[in-house]
C-alpha cells in the first residue's frame, strides 16, 4: 500500500509540475498576475508530494519490503538500517528520485528566499524549474519507476553493492546532487532573464548567492567522493580521472567560471552574454553527468545501470533542455547590452582570461571523457584515456590559471597598470620563488614539479596577504580589529576560497613528491619501516560483521621506539554478492597519513601487506573544505542577508514602476 501511495504522489507531482511549468511562464508573458502567482504554491506542493514519495521509498527500505523490485535489488535483510536508507540512492531509480527530490528542495528554497524578486522573474524561475522537474518525473514514471512491484515478493534482497556499504554512501551522493541540481537555480535565473529580456546587474546579484551555494555543495560532494575512494578502494589514490569523477568535475569547472563571471556582471555589468552561457553550460553539464553515469554508457565503478530505453530518454531530454536553452540564447542574447568598458589589462580581462583557461580545461576533460565513446561508436577502435593523458593536459592549463589567481584580485577594475602591479607584487613573487626553490632541498628531494606546485601555492597565499593589507589600509577605522570587521564577508570569502586552492595544491604536490609505499610479505611479528614509522604485524583474526566475515590484521606502529598507534586493516567477504572488499586502516594526521591494506593471506599466517606513507594528503580535502567555507562566508555577506530579510517592503510608486521597467 505504502509504495502505491508513493507512486501516486509522483503522478500528482507530475501534474503539478505541468501546471507550474506552463501557466506562470505564460502569465509572465501576458502580464497575468493570477497565473504568475500560481508558481509559488505549485512549487511548494510539488516539494511536498515528492517528499512523500521519497519517504514512502525510505519506508519500504526500512521495513524490508522485498515486494518492491528496487528494494529487493539493492538491499538485504542483513543490511544495517542506515545503509538500507542510503540504498535509496544505491542504484538508478532511487538516485533519480533523489535528484528530483533535491530539485524540489531547491524550488522550495527559491519560494522562501524570493520575496525581493519581481513577480514576473519569480514566476519564470519557478516555471523553468517546474519544466526540468517535469522531465525527471516523466522519466521516472515511464521507464524508471522506483516503486515497481515484484510479485511474488523475493524471500530476501540481492543486497547493496558492498563497495557502497560505507558512510561515504550516506553523505556523498546527496551532497553531490545538491551541487548538481543547485545549478538548476542559476540556469532558471538565466533562462528567466532571457525570456524576459532583462539581463542586468540586478539579475547577476540575485543569482550570485544561489550559484555560490550550489558550488559549495558540489565542492564538498566531490571532496567526499574523493576521500571515500581513497579509503575504500584500498590503493590509496584520491583521484582517478574516472569518467564518473570527470562527470562531477566538469560542472564544477563551469560553476567556478560562472561564479567569477557573475562577479563581473554584478560589479561592472560586463560579460552578461558570457555569464548566461556559462549558467546554461553548468547545468547542461550536470545533466550530462547524470546521463553519463545513469545511462550505463560508461562502464566504471559507479555506473550500475544499463538500459538503452533509459539512455534514449535521457538523451532526448538532454537535447531538448540544452538545445532549447541554446536556441533561446541565440535568439535573445544578442539584444543584451555590453556593460561597462574596460581595458585589455584590467581585472575584467584577467577574470575573462581565467574563464578561458577554466573552460579550456573543462573542454579537455570533456574531450578525454567522451573521446573513447565516440571512437567506439564509430568503430574506430577501442582506446583508454586515463590519468597520464589528463595529467599531461590539465597541469599546463591550470598553472597559468593559478598564477593569474594571485594577480587578478589585486588588479583594478576597468584599467590596470602592469608596471604598477608588478611593483606591488614583487615581494610576493620573490618570497614565493625563493621558498619554492629552497624548500624541496630542505625536505630532501628536488623535482621541477615539486617547486612549481609550491611556487603556485605560496604565490596564492602571499598575494592574498598583500591584497588584505592593501584592503585594510583603505578601510576606515582606528583599531585593527575595527578595520578587520569593516571588511565585507564576501571579500573574506574570496580570500579564504583562494587560500583553499593553495592548501589543495600543497597537498597534491607533497603527496606526489614524497609519498612512499612498500609491498611486503609479513609474518606474524615481523616489522617493516616506512617514512620513519615501524609497523609490527601481530597476526590476523577472523571476525564477524553484521553482514560480512572478515580477517582483521593488527599492526603496532611505533616511531623512534615509542608506540604511535595500533591499526586494524580488514579483508572482508560479503556472502550475498560473494564479494571481497579491502578495508584499509588509516591513521590520519595534519602532516601525514599512514595507510595499511591487507593483500592476500600467505602460508603460516603471513599476509602480503601494502604500506603507504602519505605526507600532507589530508590537505587535499582540507583545501576543498576551505574553498567551500569561503563560499559560505561570501554568501553570508550583509548585502544578501538584507535582500532576503525584506519581506513586505513599502515601496514608493515611482520606484515600483522603475523596478518593473528593469524587470
Amino acid at each position: 500500500m505504502i509504495p502505491e501511495i508513493g507512486q501516486f504522489a509522483l503522478i500528482l507531482a507530475l501534474c503539478v509540475a505541468i501546471v507550474q511549468g506552463s501557466l506562470p511562464i505564460y502569465g509572465a508573458a501576458v502580464g497575468n498576475s493570477a497565473l504568475m502567482s500560481m508558481a509559488k504554491p505549485a512549487a511548494r506542493g510539488q516539494f511536498l508530494l515528492v517528499l512523500i514519495a521519497f519517504c514512502c521509498l525510505g519506508y519500504a527500505f526500512a521495513v524490508k519490503d522485498f515486494s518492491v523490485l528496487y528494494v529487493a535489488a539493492t538491499s538485504n535483510s542483513q543490511l544495517p538500517l542506515h545503509y538500507r536508507l542510503a540504498a535509496i540512492w544505491g542504484a538508478h531509480e532511487g538516485s533519480l528520485l533523489l535528484w528530483t527530490f533535491i530539485l524540489t528542495v531547491w524550488m522550495f528554497a527559491v519560494t522562501l528566499f524570493s520575496a525581493h524578486l519581481p513577480e514576473t522573474m519569480r514566476a519564470r524561475i519557478l516555471g523553468v524549474m517546474g519544466l526540468v522537474s517535469m522531465g525527471f518525473l516523466l522519466f521516472m514514471l515511464s521507464v524508471s519507476n522506483p516503486f515497481e512491484r515484484l510479485i511474488p515478493a523475493a524471500a530476501d534482497g540481492r543486497d547493496l553493492n558492498p563497495l557502497l556499504q560505507d558512510p561515504g554512501m550516506v553523505m556523498h551522493p546527496p551532497m553531490l546532487y545538491m551541487g548538481y541540481v543547485g545549478f538548476s537555480v542559476a540556469f532558471a535565473f538565466a533562462i528567466a532573464a532571457l525570456l524576459g529580456g532583462n539581463l542586468d546587474a540586478a539579475w547577476a546579484r540575485w543569482s550570485r548567492p544561489w550559484t555560490t551555494v550550489a558550488w559549495c555543495f558540489l565542492t564538498v560532494g566531490i571532496a567526499l567522493g574523493s576521500g571515500w575512494a581513497y579509503y575504500e578502494l584500498g590503493w590509496g589514490g584520491w583521484w582517478f580521472w574516472d569518467p564518473v569523477e570527470n562527470a562531477s568535475f566538469m560542472p564544477w569547472l563551469a560553476g567556478t567560471a560562472l561564479i567569477h563571471s557573475l562577479a563581473v556582471t554584478d560589479k561592472r555589468g560586463g560579460f552578461k552574454v558570457w555569464t548566461v552561457l556559462l549558467a546554461i553550460m553548468a547545468f547542461s553539464l550536470s545533466l550530462l553527468g547524470t546521463f553519463l553515469v545513469r545511462s550505463g554508457v560508461l562502464t566504471s565503478v559507479h555506473a550500475f545501470a544499463t538500459d538503452p530505453k533509459r539512455g534514449l530518454f535521457i538523451l532526448a531530454f538532454l537535447a531538448v533542455v540544452i538545445g532549447g536553452s541554446l536556441l533561446l540564447y541565440a535568439w535573445r542574447a544578442p539584444r543584451v547590452g555590453l556593460g561597462g568598458g574596460f581595458d585589455l589589462v584590467s581585472r575584467e580581462s584577467m577574470l575573462l582570461a581565467n574563464n578561458v583557461l577554466l573552460i579550456a580545461a573543462l573542454g579537455s576533460v570533456l574531450l578525454g571523457t567522451l573521446y573513447p565513446l565516440f571512437l567506439d561508436a564509430l568503430d574506430l577502435g577501442k582506446i583508454s584515456v586515463g590519468p597520464p593523458y589528463f595529467d599531461a593536459v590539465f597541469a599546463p592549463l591550470m598553472t597559468p590559471a593559478l598564477f593569474l589567481m594571485g594577480i587578478g584580485p589585486l588588479a583594478q577594475w576597468k584599467k590596470a597598470n602592469l608596471p604598477e602591479l608588478a611593483m606591488r607584487l614583487r615581494w610576493a613573487f620573490g618570497v614565493s620563488l625563493v621558498t619554492a626553490l629552497a624548500l624541496p632541498f630542505v625536505l630532501g628531494k628536488w623535482t621541477p614539479l615539486l617547486s612549481l606546485g609550491l611556487l603556485l601555492a605560496i604565490w596564492i597565499v602571499t598575494t592574498a596577504a598583500i591584497n588584505l593589507r592593501e584592503r585594510l589600509a583603505h578601510v576606515d577605522g582606528s583599531s585593527l580589529a575595527g578595520r578587520l570587521a569593516a571588511v565585507p564577508r564576501s571579500y573574506w570569502g574570496m580570500l579564504l576560497a583562494h587560500c583553499g586552492i593553495a592548501v589543495f595544491v600543497v597537498g597534491v604536490t607533497m603527496v606526489k613528491g614524497f609519498e612512499t609505499e612498500q609491498d611486503v610479505r609479513m609474518n606474524v611479528g615481523e616489522t617493516a619501516t616506512i617514512g620513519g614509522y615501524t609497523f609490527r604485524f601481530d597476526g590476523a583474526q577472523d571476525i564477524m560483521g553484521p553482514n560480512y566475515t572478515a580477517a582483521r590484521g593488527t599492526f603496532h606502529v611505533s616511531r623512534d621506539g615509542r608506540d604511535a598507534t595500533v591499526m586494524y586493516p580488514e579483508k572482508r567477504r560479503y556472502p550475498v554478492q560473494n564479494q571481497i572488499m579491502t578495508e584499509a586502516a588509516i591513521d590520519s594526521g595534519l602532516l601525514r597519513d599512514l595507510y595499511v591494506s591487507l593483500g592476500e593471506p600467505l602460508e603460516d599466517g603471513a599476509w602480503s601487506v601494502r604500506l603507504y606513507y602519505k605526507p600532507f594528503v589530508d590537505w587535499i580535502w582540507g583545501g576543498c573544505l576551505i574553498m567551500a567555507l569561503g563560499g559560505v562566508l561570501a554568501v553570508s555577506d550583509r548585502r544578501y542577508r538584507l535582500a532576503w530579510r525584506r519581506e513586505e517592503p513599502a515601496v514608493p510608486a515611482a520606484t515600483q514602476t522603475a523596478g518593473r521597467k528593469v524587470a
Binding site: H116, L117, L338, G341, K382, P388, R521, M522, V609, R660
Partner: protein, 153 residues
C-alpha cells in the same frame, strides 16, 4: 616485567622475527614493473590500472611483465608486445595516431581558440563601446531595486 619478555622470547615468530621481506624478489625489476603498470589498464576491471588491481588476470599479467623484464626487454618492447596482444585499449596514455590526433591537439586548440576569441572580443568591444553601458541612471535604479525590493502582489 622480565617474565613477559621471557614469554615473548619463547613464542616463536611473535616479537623478534625481524624485518619483513619485500614481496618482490628483485626490487629494481619491481620498480620498473610499477613504472609500467601505472600506465596500463587492467583489462577485466572497470577502470583500474594494472598496478592497483587485485584481479587474478591483472596478477597474471603482472607476472608476465616481470618475466619480460627478467628477459631484459626494454619498456618499449614490453609495451609493443602488450599492444599487439590486447590493442590500444591496454594503454592509459593513448598512442598518437590518426584517430587520436584530435584528442591530443584538442586541448591546445581549445586554449588557442579561446585566447583568440577573447582578444578579438575585447578589441571589438573596445571599438563598439562608446560609453559605460551601465549608466548612472541605471545604476541608481538597480541599487534602488535591490535595496528597497519590489512589492509583491
Amino acid at each position: 616485567m622480565s617474565w613477559l619478555a621471557l614469554i615473548m622470547l619463547l613464542m616463536p615468530g611473535l616479537a623478534w622475527a625481524g624485518e619483513a621481506k619485500p614481496l618482490a624478489e628483485d626490487p629494481v625489476a619491481e620498480a620498473r614493473l610499477k613504472h609500467l603498470a601505472v600506465e596500463l589498464r587492467c583489462l577485466v576491471c572497470q577502470n583500474q590500472t594494472l598496478a592497483d588491481s587485485n584481479a587474478p588476470l591483472a596478477e597474471d599479467l603482472r607476472r608476465e611483465v616481470r618475466e619480460m623484464i627478467a628477459k631484459n626487454m626494454s619498456d618499449q618492447e614490453i609495451i609493443d608486445f602488450l599492444v599487439q596482444r590486447y590493442g590500444d585499449f591496454v594503454l592509459y596514455r593513448p598512442p598518437w595516431k590518426m584517430t587520436t590526433t584530435l584528442l591530443w591537439i584538442g586541448p591546445f586548440l581549445l586554449l588557442v581558440g579561446g585566447a583568440i576569441t577573447l582578444v578579438m572580443a575585447l578589441r571589438r568591444r573596445g571599438r563598439t563601446l562608446t560609453d559605460s553601458a551601465v549608466t548612472d541612471e541605471e545604476h541608481r535604479r538597480v541599487e534602488q531595486l535591490l535595496s528597497q525590493g519590489v512589492k509583491r502582489s
